[in-house]
Structure formats: structure tokens, C-alpha cells
Amino acid sequence: MGNLFSNYYELASMLLFVVGFLILLIQRNLIKKIIGLNIMDTSVFLFLAAKGYIAGRMSPIIRDGVTDASRYINPIPSGLVLTGIVVAVSTTAFALALALRWYQQYNSLEVDWTTLKHLLKGEK
């Protein structure tokens, strides 16, 4: 089994990723799809934060002028999480606005039979 159970943060983030991915694929409501996308985002943040952690070390804020790298955790994944959060917020806002326009057009948030039929027949 390797390091499956010592890597429980990574394991949890991977399972969250799959949960979000399945919500994104299977749910027909656009808002639920967006929630699934956000769960996927969060799992990636958890994974990155877990990658940056080193047991027994401090947060990467230099204390008392000690610049010994063996006292602090890895600062790079923290910055990457920041980037990820910003992009996640932006895509969520964009997707929600698109969902509102979808609702305005079809009076429904579902991607389903009625909307499909409308899309198929709509252009005549």
C-alpha cells in the first residue's frame, strides 16, 4: 500500500477531487455543477498546502533574523495556493454569470431534455 495512509491529506484531496468531478459530470443543475467545480478547486488547494508542509517546522516568516532554511516550511506551495484561489474565484463568478444568462434564456437552470430539445429545434 506504500504511503497511502501516511499521506492522508493527499488521499482526502484526491477523493474530494473525484467527488467534485463526478458532481460536475452527473448533475444537471448548473449551480450544482459550479459547486462541483469549486470542490475540485478546494481539493487542489488542500493538495498543494499538504505538499508544502514539513513536520515540526514553522511558517515561512523569518523570526529573530534566523534565515536557516531548515527551520521553515516550503513557501512556494502557499503562493501557488494563492494563485489557485484567485483563479477559482474568477471562474466561479464567470460561471455563475453564465448560469444566470442561461436561466434568463431558458427559464431553467437544468441542462436536460427540455433545454436540449429547445437547442435542437430552436434554430428553425
Partner: protein, 391 residues
């Protein structure tokens, strides 16, 4: 649906029943009136009249589809049998809910066999034969079921692959992991000399990788602009049409305790956000986290006191201008630092003593710029989404 609401019959009790009985036969033009209108004024009234009914058809259309397909054939025969009877006494059906099902089905009957009943003053559009519709319906249902099965199998396989990958990853939290390499060592050991920031993450994202952070801010700005463009149409329509902002949106919540508590908490949350922004190079936080706190405070004030209060200091247009200004200042400052760095010129911006508030060179103003962009983004997105009226 459009036919029914045009007749003013709003007593429809369970729309989903009606949909389940009629789903395969509704002409698409009638179900979705906005499609054939131009997007200006015309579809105002459809949207609002229809909304009450359409909000409820929330699930299971393929299930309905199958059921409807099953009994659609004999339902249709019944309709054909009842046609003469209905023609004979079409003063009799009053505007009660159960009567609408035969009425709607009568609309769907082929126009050649029976003249359009009185419930449908506009002539029913010529439709495709029912069998084709039903075939399409069954086809879509089958596709959707197989799609779900394939999606679930793909998800389970992805989960297995990822779990195996996790099992093969190096152990969690060890110092000799490959992610802990010379880059992070360099940032930690030389960062305070290079950037003057005690917070290595701030030094990293606003000095070593400031171009990346500029890109992030521009992503936020672009998202805001896109949402403004996407929702602008409905906002403008609100100003012209009959619906304006709701009272709760204009003057906040009705609850007095909530107002009092928010009035007490608001200055502290704003102050805390400002503290997090300007201490970004000294402590955890920075422009992004502090900007989010400030944006949340603005949202809270909008929630409690409404638009009449917040429009004095924060509007969508004002926030957009502040964002543009902050991004331009950011670009100007970083252009200077890139120019001096690339040409080996001594920068006039001192790094200061690490740990004091006026240190770390450009990181302090850049944090303020990023905080402004983030807080304005949060507030703008909130007010755009609350301005958008559904009914």
C-alpha cells in the same frame, strides 16, 4: 406555458404534473418564449409571467419523458375521441386547473384534424409527427443513462488511479521530499536580503514573482468586467421595466438587532482588513486575504443597510475605476523595478529594516494595490449578482 399564462390562468397547481403529461409534445416555441423575441424589451413580460410555473420543473425530465411516452399514445387517442364533444361545449371549460390538461392536449392535436379550440387563439404551430418526437425523447433518455453510467465508471477509475498515485507519493511532511528543493531554500535564506520582507511568501509573490501576481490581479479584473458585461443587459432592463431593486436591496435587512450588531462589527472588520493588508510583508496575510476581508465588510454593510447606504462610498462604477487605477499603479511600480533591476541601476526605493512597517521596498504599496483590486472585485461581484432580478 406561454399560451396558458397569456390567458391569465395562473391557478396551475402542479406544473410538474402538467409537464409530465405533456412534455414530449410541447412546441419549443411555446415553452421558451424568450427565444423568439429580440432580447430587448419584448421578453420582459414573458420572463416574469412564466417564472412562477417554470421554477418548479426541476428534476427528472427523462423519467417524465419515459412515462409520458408510455401513456402518450393512448392519451392522444382519448383526445381524438373527445374532440367533437369539446367543440360542442367549449363554453363549459372554466379556468380551473384540472381543465387545462385536456385543453393543452387539444392544442397539441394535429391542426388538420380539429380546428384550434378556443383556449388557443393563436393557431398551433405545425409540428413534427408524435412518433419522431417520442423517438427523439427515448433516444435522449438512453443517451443520458449511458452517459451517466460511463461518467460514474470514469470517476471510479480516476479515483483508483489517484489513490494508487497517492500511495506512491513520498511520505507526507518529510524534509527530504523532492518539493523541498533549492528554490525554496534560496527564497528562505536570501529572501530577506533581496526583498526586505519578513514574510517569505509575500516576498515571493510580490517581488520574485510579482509579474505572476499582476496576472492574477488582471484575472480578477477581467472576471469582474466579464460579469458586468454578462449581467448588464438585465440590469438595464430593470431600470426601464417595471421591476426595480427590491426594498431589502435598497435599505437593507429589516431586523434591528442585525443592523445594530453589524453597525458595531463593521468598523472592526474594516480595520482588521486594512491591518492585514498593510502588514502583508510582516505577518501572514497580504493583499489577497486583507482585500477579501475588506470586501466582506463592504458586502456586510450592503447587506445590512442596503444600496442607499453603500452607494455613498462604493458603487460598481467607482469600484471599476479604483481597480483600473490600482492595476496601473502596480504596473508602473513594477516597470520601474524591472527597469532598474535589468539595467543594474541602484533603485531609489530603500528596503528599510526588516520587521518595521515601512520596509520591504515595493511590497507595501503593491500589497495595497492588490488589496484594493481584491476588495473592489468582491464588492462588485456581490452587488452585480444581487442587482440581478429574477422576478
Amino acid at each position: 406555458m406561454g399560451i396558458i399564462s397569456d390567458k391569465g390562468k395562473k391557478t396551475l397547481t402542479s406544473f410538474s404534473d402538467w409537464v409530465s403529461a405533456n412534455s414530449p409534445d410541447i412546441p419549443a416555441e411555446v415553452v421558451y418564449p424568450p427565444k423568439k423575441d429580440d432580447h430587448g424589451h419584448g421578453h420582459d413580460d414573458h420572463g416574469h409571467d412564466d417564472h412562477g410555473g417554470h421554477g418548479h420543473d426541476d428534476h427528472g425530465h427523462d423519467d417524465h419523458c419515459e412515462a409520458a411516452h408510455a401513456d402518450e399514445t393512448h392519451a392522444h387517442e382519448e383526445v381524438l375521441h373527445e374532440e367533437p364533444l369539446k367543440e360542442a361545449s367549449h363554453e363549459e371549460p372554466a379556468a380551473e386547473a384540472p381543465q387545462e390538461e385536456p385543453a393543452a392536449e387539444a392544442v397539441e392535436a394535429p391542426a388538420a384534424e380539429a380546428p384550434p379550440p378556443i383556449e388557443a387563439p393563436e393557431p398551433a404551430k405545425p409540428e413534427e409527427p408524435v412518433s419522431e418526437e417520442a423517438k427523439l425523447c427515448a433516444e435522449v433518455g438512453a443517451i443520458e443513462r449511458s452517459y451517466r453510467a460511463v461518467a460514474t465508471i470514469c470517476g471510479i477509475m480516476l479515483a483508483l488511479i489517484l489513490v494508487v498515485t497517492v500511495a506512491l507519493l513520498p511520505k507526507f511532511g518529510m524534509a527530504n521530499n523532492p518539493t523541498v528543493n533549492e528554490v525554496s531554500r534560496r527564497y528562505l535564506e536570501e529572501g530577506i536580503k533581496d526583498t526586505g520582507a519578513v514574510n517569505t511568501v509575500a516576498g515571493m509573490i510580490l517581488d520574485y514573482r510579482a509579474f505572476d501576481t499582476l496576472g492574477e490581479s488582471i484575472v480578477l479584473f477581467t472576471a469582474t468586467i466579464t460579469v458586468i458585461f454578462l449581467l448588464q443587459q438585465s440590469r438595464r432592463k430593470d431600470n426601464e421595466g417595471k421591476i426595480g431593486s427590491t426594498e431589502a436591496n435598497l435599505s437593507g435587512v429589516r431586523s434591528l438587532p442585525a443592523k445594530v450588531i453589524i453597525r458595531i462589527a463593521l468598523p472592526f472588520s474594516l480595520l482588521y482588513g486594512i491591518y492585514v493588508v498593510i502588514n502583508g510583508h510582516l505577518s501572514p496575510g497580504g493583499g489577497f486575504s486583507g482585500g477579501t476581508i475588506i470586501g466582506a465588510s463592504l458586502i456586510l454593510s450592503h447587506l445590512a443597510f442596503g444600496e442607499r447606504f453603500t452607494k455613498r462610498f462604493a458603487t460598481v462604477d467607482g469600484c471599476s475605476k479604483v481597480m483600473v487605477a490600482a492595476l496601473l499603479v502596480y504596473m508602473g511600480l513594477k516597470t520601474y523595478s524591472v527597469y532598474t533591476g535589468a539595467n543594474g541601476i541602484e533603485s531609489i526605493i530603500p528596503l528599510g529594516t526588516p520587521g518595521s512597517i515601512l520596509s520591504a521596498g515595493l511590497i507595501f504599496p503593491l500589497n495595497i494595490c492588490v488589496g484594493l483590486v481584491v476588495s473592489c472585485t468582491m464588492f462588485t461581484l456581490y452587488s452585480l449578482f444581487t442587482d440581478w432580478k429574477i422576478s
